[in-house]
Symmetry: C2
DNA sequence: AACCTAGCACGAACATGTTCGTGAGGCTTC
DNA sequence: GAAGCCTCACGAACATGTTCGTGCTAGGTT
């Protein structure tokens, strides 16, 4: 868990000095301001410390580490991501729209997506997102266990795509990588990798949103399928 | 792509001096040796440079960055991961065994999993793994486009689980996190998150392997399902 | 032989995350 | 009031990834 599990909140010594008191929320607010004004790459512990007129080590009294900070940032950014009303389409369409909203937040700040993969986000907005997803799955007839276990899967794909974005130095390199990958696949050794060679361009075909749509359908269809290998009670 | 796309390979100046020549493969070999003897956390550019009696900046003539290095390490570690013969079970069982082998490699060195998410691994062993997966999917009747697009999904789940492992400082923290998450879920605000509250322990139930098995079945069932929303030709 | 160019080698430097250690203030106890 | 303890504040330091800039060597050209 994040610092929320600390036995008690630290109390700033700056209460009376001219400097405003350090608080966890104050650090997060400063981070969000820097995010807005300068971009996520500038949201460093040192930059935040400078903004709060202190040293970077001071922040660690209130913030566990940069992952903790990113988790808070993500949760704040998720505030606008909510499910549409039932009249706005089928449960599947509304679920797709909800996950598209989530994906858009991550695509806007892909560096944060790394955090979403490596820790279990637990902010109220993230929980609300999960709750809405489960609600829609129930509406679609997905059994409870499938919904519970599938929640992670549904959030995983958009998160992973965003992480892939985050490692690119620029959009140009991404394009270069895709072009090079396509070229590589076009010349892949058909003797060594016969199946990949046969698939050829199919491996890189389809626009991002088409692939995301398809992936979501695969997951939902899989969850709805009843069969001998659906999840059974673990004894 | 990795350094493989460079117009030509760098040629070391150390050919005649007492120091052995620097080469890309030599750097990778040194990294693997340190991995075996000291663990992945010690496989740093500085440590490798020390092992090769040079400075860390020298490595960047042959290695693009740490991601590039990790990609090579992963590929080497994937050499033993191969598909069982057809007589060893159904296509689904053999696919599960193959992905379990892949997961085991990542779990042994979870830090490398981060790289597998952020870039498109392209080493020969990784390609062979992908080729084997597609072969098994074809054997199971999965259509080509579903196989091509689903390949990423199949590899994603074990990779993501390993990434989650990699961020833990210790197994103890992971246990603490799970316990805290379970406690949090047990007390989740039923008014604010009614669906999550109702699912309760279901959200954290099931051992890792059970969940992984289930996730794989969901993906495979989803790919095999034919319906109006299966992938269509993109015009 | 002399000169020029390309590129390898690598130290220095920069940026960042995080920990360590010390100082000081506030609170509690005697 | 004094002493002791706890904890916040934060500079210093460490570790790492990566870039920059300079020196030097080998090969090619004249």
């Amino acid at each position: 868990m994040t610092s929320d599990d600390r036995p008690r909140a630290p109390v700033s010594r700056r209460e009376r000095p001219a400097k405003p008191a350090l608080t966890r929320q104050g650090i997060i607010d400063a981070a969000l301001m820097i995010l807005r004004d300068e971009g996520l790459s500038k949201v460093t512990m040192r930059r935040i410390a400078t903004a709060l007129d202190t040293g970077p080590a001071s922040l660690y009294v209130y913030i566990r580490d940069t992952e903790d900070l990113h988790a808070q940032i993500l949760d704040t950014l998720l505030a606008p991501v909510t499910a549409a009303a039932p009249g706005a389409g089928s449960w599947r369409d509304r679920l797709k729209a909800l996950l598209t909203g989530y994906r858009d937040v991550l695509f806007a700040h892909p560096e944060i997506a790394r955090m979403a993969l490596s820790t279990q986000p637990s902010g109220p907005n993230y929980l609300a997102l999960g709750d809405a997803i489960v609600g829609l799955l129930n509406e679609g007839g997905v059994p409870d266990r499938a919904a519970a276990w599938g929640l992670d899967l549904l959030l995983l794909y958009p998160t992973a795509i965003a992480v892939e974005l985050s490692s690119q130095k620029s959009a140009t390199r991404k394009t270069e990588d895709l072009t090079a990958l396509a070229a590589q696949i076009a010349t892949v050794d058909a003797a060594r990798f016969p199946h990949l060679a046969r698939l050829g361009d199919e491996l890189v075909s389809g626009a991002g949103p088409d692939r995301a749509d398809w992936a979501l359908d695969v997951l939902l269809d899989g969850m709805l399928t009843a069969g001998p290998h659906t999840p059974r009670k673990v004894s």
